[in-house]
């Protein structure tokens, strides 16, 4: 799993004290925005994402309408106070890219054929960021979509793995992402589908060898199974809470 023993990695122990395959403490809650059609919160460590689903509803502008199927529209944004120095609100190059890749990842598991000309809007907001915001957002969005009763073939779970110098780690935090020594850090966010175990999204920022990428995918897949369990648990809990 880790790099070859002969080349010693500069990052053998994680600063957070976690094991290399340990995810930060997760927490999830469904139904946090009662007026929405579906909503969820997902948290790993200090990264927190909330997702709100509105729709299916009429799509404006009309030229975006598709008479064959409904469309998915994802809007990702970080709140101004989510990091230490203020983030300028509004769309940025980064947030538009993340909105788009999250849209593609989520579109692979949902089926909107029943809703021609309609749109399902997903709003992802990050109130608190410590790396891995896009994957936390996708995790929250998958739960919110399920909560909204959107027809889905399966769930998706997301995790950001990384290579810090030569050590492969799971769920990278901000300190690790900024690691500059040796080979530096490589950030690999990935999305796995829950049932067919396919990759819905894979991004890579940094340098990594093909062999290492294969093992990173494997540890990411295992981590996603743990995340999936958290998603399922909080979805099922959301109904039991109403039953009390």
């Amino acid at each position: 799993m880790t790099a070859k023993k002969s080349e010693k990695s500069l990052y053998e122990k994680r600063a957070s004290g976690r094991k290399v395959d340990e995810i930060r403490k997760m927490n999830a809650k469904v139904g946090i925005v009662p007026s929405a059609d579906g909503s969820a919160m997902f948290e790993t460590g200090n990264t927190r994402a909330i997702a709100v689903v509105r729709g299916p509803r009429e799509l404006h502008p009309q030229h975006m309408r598709n008479s064959e199927t409904g469309i998915l529209r994802v809007n990702y944004g970080m709140m101004p106070f989510s990091v230490w120095d203020r983030i300028r609100p509004g769309p940025s190059r980064r947030s538009q890219e993340i909105s788009k890749v999250a849209e593609w990842a989520l579109a692979s598991c949902i089926d909107l054929k029943q809703f021609p000309n309609a749109v399902v809007d997903v709003f992802i907001q990050i109130p608190q960021a410590d790396a891995g915001t896009r994957v936390a957002g996708i995790n929250a969005a998958a739960m919110a979509l399920a909560d909204a009763g959107i027809p889905m073939k399966e769930m998706v779970s997301a995790i950001a793995c990384g290579k810090i110098d030569k050590t492969l780690v799971v769920d990278v935090d901000k300190d690790e992402e900024d690691f500059k020594d040796g080979e530096g850090s490589t950030d690999i966010p990935m999305v796995w589908t829950s049932r067919t175990k396919k990759i819905a999204l894979l991004q890579l920022d940094g340098k990594i060898s093909p062999d290492e990428l294969k093992s990173v995918l494997e540890i990411g897949k295992n981590a996603c199974e743990k995340i999936y369990a958290v998603q399922v648990e909080s979805l099922k809990k959301s109904l039991e809470e109403k039953n009390e």
Binding site: D37, G38, G55, P56, R57, E58, G70, C109, D111, Q114, F115, N117, A118, A146, D147, A148, G149, I150, P151, M152, K153, E154, M155, T193, S194, R195, Q231, V232, L235, K236, L239, E240, K242, N243, E244
Partner: protein, 236 residues
């Protein structure tokens, strides 16, 4: 709390109901048929949405517990006029598209260009879905009891909770009607029109309906609603 959960689990298994998430296997076997909200994947019947799975005989379906309203033929729905075209009206009822009410589906003859005199923007209309095929949802107000409603107020609840508000053969609606002297018209889309002369009665009805919607998944709801109504009267 734990006891409550156990109780619910047993009630689910008695009716063969189970909470499922999308992609979860409901049952495996070649002879089962996937119905609404379920699909077949090889040997297994899989949930295609979040909800309660129900296996009755060989038929497997997932009952929605959340989400927006999906129009079905024969449903009576309540909506507001949001558009007037040259041959009909567009009605917003909180679904994925607007419904269309044609001039031909109104019980009296209306001259072209006088549509707004009959139904105008913002009017609340009770109508029946008669076609969901093809292009859009078509509704009609030709039958008795359908058409424009005036006065009163609209209470909006989640459409999946409408069956609880109606009750068995309308028992719950009648219970509320008796308690508040209000006229109640429940649309399948979760919009409920309430009218009772006095505003106090309408607010009381609204409170009761919201109480039902909040407690829609509990057992013995009728008694709880009766208690709730008694408490409301005591407070006065």
């Amino acid at each position: 709390m734990v006891k409550d959960e156990e109780k619910n689990e047993t009630s689910f298994s008695r009716t063969q109901r189970q909470l499922v998430v999308p992609g979860e296997t409901i049952i495996s076997g070649e002879d089962y048929l996937p119905g609404d909200g379920a699909y077949r994947d090889g040997d297994e019947i899989v949930a295609g949405r979040f909800g309660l799975s129900e296996v009755s005989d060989k038929f497997v379906k997932v009952i929605a517990i959340s989400g927006t309203y999906q129009a079905r033929r024969g449903n009576s729905i309540i909506g507001t006029i949001v558009g007037v075209t040259f041959n009909g009206w567009l009605i917003d009822f909180g679904g994925s598209e607007n419904a269309f009410l044609s001039v031909n589906e109104v019980p009296r003859y209306i001259n072209k260009g006088e549509l707004r005199e009959h139904f105008d923007f913002g009017d609340v209309v009770v109508c029946k879905v008669w076609d969901v095929k093809g292009r859009g949802i078509d509704v009609s107000v030709k039958m008795r009891g359908f058409g424009k409603v005036e006065g009163g107020m609209i209470v909006k609840i989640n459409p999946n909770k409408v069956p609880r508000v109606i009750g068995k053969e309308g028992s719950m609606v009648n219970l509320i009607k008796d308690a508040t002297n209000c006229e109640i018209n429940v649309g399948q889309n979760g919009w409920i029109w309430v009218s009772g002369g006095e505003i106090d009665n309408e607010i009381k009805t609204k409170k009761i309906i919201e109480f039902i919607a909040e407690n829609a998944t509990t057992n013995g709801l009728t008694e709880k609603v009766e208690d709730f109504i008694n408490n409301l009267e005591k407070k006065k």
